[in-house]
């Protein structure tokens, strides 16, 4: 591309001055704006599935994943010590349900439910999420069993609700019929009843998932490694505190 242009020296000085001043004003104005990431607000009600399908213009896989990124940004930062604890979980689960319906093969909504949203220190909210995982598991047991296995661990170690954990373990045993499901998942009931702490159980589950090749995504591996390290640090701190408090 070429254009017939006059040299820069042909531009009058007052135009140069005006342009520079306007640019400086814009930079100053933009610099004074508060950062958008500091806002802490609740998640809005989800759109209807038909509306989302229409908006996706035939790209439901892309829209489902972008919707998950949008959803996970809520209550992640701002003035909040524990991410997601202030969210309205009924709305959150409605969002997860509609995103999963948009792309039923995506693992993102169930991963987020079982490993992120279920870990808030509010038993009522955790139960809402676990119930969502259980109901969605029943729609496709052969592909969604890892999330119900995680839900069983959350029920046992976070909620201390052994009957609920056993109900989930029994469901995996009863409804998951695929040949590639590892033995430990089919025998989840024994695993739940064993006297293991949360760290040991998490290590066995993650080790099993890694060995079976279920987890391949680098972001998921990073996230799970980070979670294990957090768990180890928390248990070490608890053990240290316990020893200190002994007479």
């Amino acid at each position: 591309m070429s254009r017939d242009e006059r040299p820069l020296s042909a531009v009058p000085g007052w135009v140069w001055l005006g342009l520079t001043a306007c640019l400086a004003l814009q930079l100053a104005w933009a610099g004074m704006r508060p950062s958008a990431s500091q806002r802490a607000e609740d998640v809005p009600p989800p759109p209807r599935l038909a509306a989302l399908r229409l908006a996706s213009l035939g790209e439901p896989e892309a829209l489902a994943r972008l919707a998950m990124l949008y959803l996970q940004a809520y209550d992640l930062r701002g003035a909040n010590d524990i991410p997601y604890q202030n969210l309205d979980y009924r709305r959150l689960v409605a969002w997860l349900r509609v995103v999963l319906a948009l792309d039923p093969k995506s693992e993102y909504p169930l991963f987020s439910a079982a490993r992120v949203y279920a870990e808030v220190p509010d038993p009522a909210k955790t139960k809402v999420v676990l119930d969502f995982v259980y109901r969605e598991y029943l729609r496709d047991p052969n592909h969604r069993w890892p999330w119900l296995a995680q839900a069983a661990m959350v029920a046992k170690h976070r909620l201390h609700d052994l009957p609920l954990a056993l109900r989930y373990a029994d469901a995996i045993d009863r409804y998951t019929t695929a040949s590639n499901v590892p033995l430990w998942a089919k025998q989840m009931r024994i695993f739940i009843l064993e006297d293991m702490n949360e760290l040991q159980a998490a290590k066995v589950i993650l080790g099993g998932l890694l060995a079976s090749g279920t987890i391949k995504d680098p972001a998921e591996l990073r996230f799970l490694e980070h979670r294990l390290q957090d768990l180890e640090a928390r248990q070490a701190a608890q053990a240290g505190g316990g020893r200190m408090s002994r007479p």
């Binding site: 591309m1 038909a50 399908r53 229409l54 213009l57 035939g58 790209e59 896989e61 892309a62 829209l63 994943r65 972008l66 998950m68 990124l69 996970q72 093969k105 995506s106 693992e107 993102y108 991963f111 987020s112 490993r115 992120v116 995504d217 680098p218 972001a219 998921e220 996230f223």
Partner: protein, 254 residues
């Protein structure tokens, strides 16, 4: 070399000398940059997210660039009286139209190939090849639609708006039909009339939602039957647009 092939070569030459190669490069850079960004904030499925996001964005970019280039180029040709000059040459109108369209179709194929290359980072080559072939046919359809509307409307904004409207409606019509057929709606006469109107409209549109699917890149290639059906639909509608364009072009007065 046949006259139509020479015309097609000039169309490609014009595209190469315009800003189009830079826009293609900018689209690739934007898609790769945004894909890298979203993969950093994803908790899981980061590879699928990059593939899905890039594919959806690059598909939209390919269609937008082809439609805009065809509309701008054709309307400029008409405004500069280049088309009238061409019509005085001993060259059939059919050959002129076909040569021009062949150039735009080749351009769409080149853009589709360029846009498919980065997807090899995240998806198997066979799936990417199927996606790229489908996108090439989709851009051919869009080029045929843009050429038809540009010749008929002879103004860039109405021509582009008509092409974009046809394209968006064709991508959404499947969902619109399923919404209209919802069993929850009451079967009143106005509702039935609306449903019949939508079904009638769907008969006049291609099923673009069945073509160039991101699903092929992240969940595996489609079955041969589904793929052939989707591409046959695109090819058939492209032929319809070419026929309509030729019909209109043959009626044009000098």
């Amino acid at each position: 070399m046949p006259a139509a092939a020479i015309l097609a070569r000039f169309v490609l030459l014009e595209a190469r000398r315009s800003g189009l190669p830079w826009l293609v490069a900018a689209s690739l850079a934007a898609a790769l940059g945004l894909a890298a960004f979203v993969s950093q904030v994803a908790l899981t499925e980061s590879i699928a997210l990059q593939a899905a996001f890039s594919a959806a964005l690059l598909r939209a970019c390919a269609v937008f660039l082809v439609a805009l280039h065809v509309a701008a180029s054709t309307v400029r040709e008409v405004d500069d009286k280049g088309l009238e000059l061409m019509l005085t040459l001993p060259l059939s109108r059919g050959a002129q139209y076909a040569g021009r369209l062949a150039g735009y179709v080749a351009l769409g194929t080149v853009i589709s190939a360029c846009f498919a290359l980065p997807l090899l980072l995240w998806s198997p080559p066979a799936a990417v090849l199927l996606w790229a072939a489908s996108l090439a046919l989709e851009t051919a359809l869009v080029a045929a639609a843009a050429l038809f509307f540009s010749m008929a409307l002879v103004q860039p904004v109405p021509a582009f708006a008509a092409t974009a409207g046809l394209y968006l409606l064709a991508r959404a019509i499947g969902t619109v039909q399923s919404i209209a057929a919802s069993p929850l709606a009451e079967p009143t006469l106005p509702h039935r009339l609306a449903q019949w109107s939508i079904d009638a409209l769907a008969l006049l549109l291609p099923r673009l939602d069945a073509a160039t699917r991101t699903e092929w890149l992240i969940y595996g290639a489609p079955t041969a039957g589904a793929y052939a059906t989707a591409l046959a639909g695109l090819a058939l509608y492209s032929l319809l647009l070419i026929a309509a364009g030729l019909f209109d072009f043959h009626r044009r007065n000098l």
